[in-house]
């Protein structure tokens, strides 16, 4: 049994009295010491999936309407609030995209880490402080014993994101969910943060779910990948298998859309059209209005998940039939 198992997750958003599905039948699992990348464009449901795992989909507008999420054998969707709180920030932690807003500006970063530690572990303030300094040096903040007393605004964006990682790691979580952790950072800083995460994983064996829109980041850091489009996983495989043979036309289109730094092309092969909005009702395959391989079948029936190669699943009526 894997550490995190998500099965047939369904999430819906309530707008103007209607319940619109935003995540449909998403399944994946992540094991210790493994990194799963979830890739997709805005509106594909990748962030909502992460929030669902962390139990952050409170409220009435967005809610989980089906499926289940099991973490370490526990059903996360039926836990009581108290049980959930004892897991969150302790055995499961999350890093958000915005390093500017996810730290409280009025408290010293050390105090924020210490509070998180003491919430879950029996430690004196002095012990927790030592631990905070240790964590800061672990995420390679220079002069950790002095920086522990800094306020968030005294640090750069990259440093703040490292503090967030330090905080997430403060209780040795078994699972780390990172939602676009480097999107707001510069490329050189991004590389440092990603290297840091990989390094920490090999040392502590943490399972990571990395959510990103950047295929490059996914390709370099993840063991396996799930590609999402409009609420569904359209293709999933081990990273090297996926990029060896892209089976879904959307994944191929996404890759061809990226202007690469290592060669010149005259024109990018862009996917035509745009990502459909939530309100638009779509029949059949959600990608069919933009797909080059579209047939009548695509417009009427939703493709089922099929095995393209062992360990490489795809949702397309014509998976891999036409070469890119």
């Amino acid at each position: 049994m894997a550490l995190l198992e998500v099965q047939d997750l369904e999430i819906a958003v309530r707008t103007k009295g209607k319940l619109l599905p935003v995540v449909q039948g998403v399944s994946f699992d992540v094991d210790d010491n493994e990194t799963l990348g979830i890739v997709g464009e805005s509106g594909c449901g990748k962030s909502l999936t992460a929030l669902a795992i962390m139990g952050l989909l409170g409220g009435t507008t967005v809610r989980i309407t089906g499926g289940n999420i099991r973490f370490d054998g526990m059903d996360l969707l039926t836990l009581s609030d108290g049980e959930r709180r004892s897991i969150m920030g302790n055995r499961m932690a999350m890093i958000f995209q915005e390093p500017m807003t996810s730290l409280n500006p009025v408290y010293r970063i050390g105090d924020q880490i210490i509070e998180n530690i003491r919430q879950h572990q029996k430690m004196t303030n002095a012990q927790a402080r030592d631990r905070a300094v240790e964590l800061l040096s672990l995420v390679r903040i220079p002069n950790p014993s002095e920086r522990v007393d800094s306020f968030p605004h005294q640090m750069s964006g990259g440093q703040r994101q490292r503090v967030m990682i330090a905080m997430a790691l403060s209780c040795d979580p078994k699972l780390l969910i990172a939602d676009e952790p480097t999107t707001a950072l510069d490329v050189t800083v991004q590389k440092e943060v990603l290297d840091l995460m990989a390094d920490l994983q090999t040392r502590m064996g943490t399972a990571i779910v990395l959510i990103s829109h950047d295929l490059g980041v996914i390709s370099e850091t993840c063991d396996k990948v799930a590609v999402m489009y409009r609420g569904r996983v359209v293709e999933a495989a081990a990273t090297e298998n996926l990029f060896a043979e892209l089976a879904h036309p959307y994944t191929r289109g996404l890759l061809n859309s990226i202007p690469v730094v290592d060669s010149d092309v005259d024109w990018l092969e862009a996917i035509p059209g745009r990502v459909p909005t939530l309100e638009e009702e779509l029949t059949g395959c959600a990608f069919h209005p933009r797909c080059a391989l579209v047939t009548k079948l695509c417009a009427t029936s939703v493709p089922q998940e099929t095995e393209y190669k062992p360990g490489h699943s795809v949702r397309c009526h014509f998976s891999g039939k036409v070469a890119p």
Binding site: E41, S42, G157, D186, V187, T188, V189, Q190, K191, L194, H213, D214, L215, G216, V217, S219, E220, T221, E240, F243, A244, G253, L254, L255, N256, S257, I258, P259, V260, V261, D262, D264, V265, W267, L268, E269, A270, I271, P272, R274, V275, T277
Partner: protein, 270 residues
């Protein structure tokens, strides 16, 4: 040797920060600190660098949105940094700017035709609304939009569509120089490719010069003729695209290029 359309000589833009509430002194931030480059007619120069390197300030200074501290910028031989707002106004038609955030750069309260039409009247490019609408319709088709959208408001469009409208607003004036500040950065990958293709095609068809400001080296490689790498307010390396990407000289350029995550395509382990 052709005369450059835009020549920037030792441009400096410094800001003074506000002193903090009680303590601390005013600090001088040298956002742009001695930048020089030329853009020939019909050429695309990219300014690439990380956040805070001053690349956007260069663009904002060249459009008089920020005040230059010193240095000169010659457009067809005339220094326009020293011009008063009124002297500069006619030049605004020729030096146009595309902004990053397509959600913020269109006035939410104005119809598309108002946003696109107003500059036409300001610069006397048409006299009546009929004329203006005809021009707007042609321009909207050129950027791949249905002319009927001119009657609608910005909130009815997606990010990619808004950026097309933003491009239409700029190109409708037939400028000689377009400054594109992170023009595709806010867009999703699949939409970014469309808009990038559109920009490149419009640039090639019209022969407009472009100052393309971006942090994304892939995008820069795709669109530029020349590339200038900025770091801490200065250009550390400038040259033809091929030279910068294939034989980078400066250490910082190399570091930037190495940091980019790349997709490993194909089977490496057979």
């Amino acid at each position: 040797m052709t005369e450059p359309l835009l020549r920037v000589i030792d441009l400096k833009t410094h800001f003074r920060t506000k002193a903090s509430w009680m303590f601390g002194e005013k600090q001088l931030i040298k956002a742009v600190d001695g930048v020089s480059f030329d853009i020939a007619p019909g050429e695309v120069l990219s300014l690439v660098g990380e956040s805070g390197c001053g690349k956007s300030t260069v663009g904002r200074t060249l459009t008089h949105l920020e005040q230059a501290t010193s240095g000169r910028a010659l457009f067809e031989g005339r220094d326009f940094l020293v011009m008063s707002p009124n002297e500069f106004r006619p030049l605004r038609r020729e030096i146009q700017m595309i902004f990053q955030d397509p959600f913020a750069s269109l006035n939410p309260r104005l119809k598309i035709e108002q946003t696109l039409g107003e500059p036409l009247f300001i610069h006397g490019l048409c006299k009546t609304w009929d004329e203006a609408r005809a021009k707007i319709a042609v321009m909207l088709e050129t950027v791949g939009m249905d002319p009927l959208v001119m009657k609608r408001h910005p909130h009815e469009f997606s990010g990619g569509q808004r950026q097309r409208i933003g491009i239409a607003r700029v190109m409708i004036l037939k400028p000689k120089l377009v400054i594109a500040d992170e023009a595709v950065s806010a867009l999703d990958v699949s939409i970014q490719a469309q808009v990038l293709n559109l920009l490149k095609k419009l640039q090639q068809d019209s022969g407009v010069s472009m100052l393309f400001i971006s942090h994304d080296l892939g995008v820069v490689r795709h669109i530029s003729d020349q590339v200038a790498v900025m770091h801490e307010g200065k250009i550390v390396e400038i040259g033809r695209k091929r030279q910068i990407f294939e034989a980078p000289q400066h250490e910082y350029t190399r570091k930037l290029l190495e940091s980019i995550p790349r997709v490993k395509i194909g089977k490496e382990v057979a």
